[in-house]
Symmetry: none
Subunit: 159 residues, 2 copies
Amino acid sequence: MSSLTRDIESYIRELFEEAQEHQLSLRRKELAERFGCVPSQINYVLASRFTPERGYLVESQRGGHGYIRIMKIRFANAEERISHLDDLVGNAIGEQDARRLLTSLQERGLLTPRERLLIEVSLRYLDEICRTPFDVSPYKRDVMQAELLKRMIRGLVLA
Amino acid sequence: MSSLTRDIESYIRELFEEAQEHQLSLRRKELAERFGCVPSQINYVLASRFTPERGYLVESQRGGHGYIRIMKIRFANAEERISHLDDLVGNAIGEQDARRLLTSLQERGLLTPRERLLIEVSLRYLDEICRTPFDVSPYKRDVMQAELLKRMIRGLVLA
DNA sequence: ATCCATATGGTCAAAATACGTCAAGAAACG
DNA sequence: CGTTTCTTGACGTATTTTGACCATATGGAT
């Protein structure tokens, strides 16, 4: 049940909590040694867990005194937040991706479990009627799902 | 009278009771082996029994260290309230009636403003697509709205 | 100033692992 | 006896882990 990637992710999150900062710096090699893995494993963790989609940006520098800096994304206003979230949803989104996004939003505290449940119910129903009474193509279904999802998210941000 | 699906469903419910947690993790392959069935049978059980409409959310991850996580959002036994609310929604509900009902639920503290917003956004979108791409009759639109509303309410108002 | 040794981090792809989708046929139901 | 629900299996996709090889920054030597 535990995995290297998840362990490293947890460790980095702990560092964030301890630091109480919106950004922190790491040494790739050091971190890899701490977890007894190859350095590129760290890149994998960053690429899969500390993405803009999950609210993070990563910068790095090579060479002597190299570093990896992870930053939490901050928004100046609701509009920025909305456009960020709109981008995450995109023009079309499938069931799996939608669920993943909702998971991430819940983890970020932007959504309560009940709100997430409401969203999932409505997405499912939309998908269902698109299939059965109407016969919408898979891609069009994803476009419609994306539209509904974006509207709900926009509403929540402004609420 | 017993069936594979029901057996697996019962088993998962037992796990919830034992764990006394609102969420639990499974391995699809393991579970399939325990019940001597193909792994996709597990997907069927999840898709038909642990839906958001029934108060559950399911997350999963593929690949190494993959898992299936089931979360119980719904609060225990509130069947009476479900049927009561179903009656309130009825077979078909128009925009005006729907709004009245939501107002009442919100006033009774069964719904937060954000949750209500989500419901209204999705109902409005449903209505919109029923008119424009598809050309659903007014009555049918009301039926579909009622159905979506009922599903959302069933999913979460229970406590 | 330039070169180069050293110290970092980056990319990519293969292999292993685990879950998802879909549709056809069987079974149960009313 | 038609409809819904269940079961199965073939095929598809996603994630993790590792390692070989690539790119870049720094600082001291020339």
